[in-house]
Symmetry: C2
Subunit: 244 residues, 2 copies
């Protein structure tokens, strides 16, 4: 069930704008009409998407979601194939590889940050990592429609493929010696590996990495949320590319 | 109720280590003993804190929390007074001012990031901003015990007081002209104002700010999560202070 719905006015609006395949939109009879809802109805009409006004009881199965009385039944997102991605033209591009990120809120925030920072794709392993579910879609605030998500069976194979295609590999690890801002991210394609909040990046991936970097902590409290850690590093790469 | 409990093994452990005033710890009879739980019991004994093993039904009122079968009934956190904070010695310090942050997950992540980045204090307005509740404590992963939270009735007055004490004021706003990394954060005390996710920083605070800065977006999608936006900016200030 969870993989096939998105909820909330903003997420449904973004999915419609992005032309996502939507089977049906359910709107609670109990919600008030407003500009956002009218916009959704208009977009649905333009895209030939059916919407129905239903009794609030229809939303009981979705009680765990903050759905605001609106749900779209969608086709699961289309994951991108890594080989296909690598065949496209890349110049000073970044991809983010997630290694064991378990929390839907974190994945949603990571997707938003990656889109804002112009990241070309996000690679997630098919196992031991949260997948794109309804909560991720909601938290991503529509960003999911603006970046390819590449699902891979083996992160190690994926990193090997990237290296074979001349991508540099940077892993973020709290025990690294080098600081993230001492790497030069300009003039290369690079992959940034972010690990699980507690376990960090797995050893097999650290071995394959060209750089292992840490975020220096100013207090003896080393426990940055993974999306916040990613944000600090990825916007440093943006700064290096843009600052005059 | 919500303000007076913390839950989950890590949050309870951190509260004990920090010496927070705890009335009682409730542990479900149904949870398995492990190293973390033994550590909690040991710390509780050392600190003279009562713990009780109770039937799982006792946890029903807390069903909305991911409590892992452990809850500590605590005194509300001690907010710090701004005048008192300003009387202390500050040298190249940062404070973060939140202006309308509504989400508990965001505040929890912000607190963690601020502690890691050595921020001296977080100022939150008493109204129109999420307060430190049980979810915030949990998401902060104990960080709440390592940084003063300063509650103020008026953000405008707070900023005026900071300015009168020679603090510089930087506001983050998506419509700013300058990029955040073009400000020099070294050799000064500064306050960084982060706004609500949708409305941004209020006009009255923007007017008082010495710098208004944005995070440049590489895609036409301007919707960074507030904790991720803060992380990008605050670690840039850390980079400026540390990088040789």
């Amino acid at each position: 069930m969870e993989e096939n719905i998105i909820f909330g006015k903003n997420a449904v609006t973004e999915a419609l704008i992005a032309g996502r395949e939507i089977n049906k939109i359910l709107i609670s009879k109990n919600i008030h009409s407003d500009a956002k809802l009218n916009n959704i109805k208009e977009l649905a009409k333009q895209n030939g998407v059916i919407f129905q006004f239903v009794a609030k009881e229809k939303f009981l199965p979705y009680a765990q979601y903050n759905h605001q009385g609106i749900i779209a039944q969608i086709s699961p997102i289309q994951y991108k194939d890594l080989d296909e991605f690598l065949e496209e033209k890349h110049e000073n591009d970044a991809v983010v590889i997630l290694d064991g990120v378990e929390d839907s809120h974190n994945l949603g925030a990571i997707i938003r940050t990656c889109v804002c920072a112009g990241v070309a794709g996000i690679i997630i392993p098919a196992r031991r990592n949260v997948q794109v579910n309804a909560t991720v879609e909601k938290i991503s605030a529509g960003a999911i429609n603006h970046i390819p998500i590449i699902k891979v069976n083996s992160s190690v194979n994926a990193v090997q493929k990237l290296k074979n295609s001349d991508w540099w590999v940077v892993a973020a690890d709290a025990s690294a010696k080098d600081n993230y801002y001492d790497v030069n991210y300009k003039d290369m394609n690079f992959a940034l590996i972010m690990g699980a909040e507690h376990a960090g990046v797995s050893k097999s991936l650290l071995k394959l990495s060209d750089f292992v970097v840490k975020i220096p902590m100013l207090k003896d409290f080393n426990s940055l949320n993974v999306s916040n850690a990613l944000s600090a590093i990825i916007f440093e790469t943006v700064r290096q590319k843009l600052q005059k």
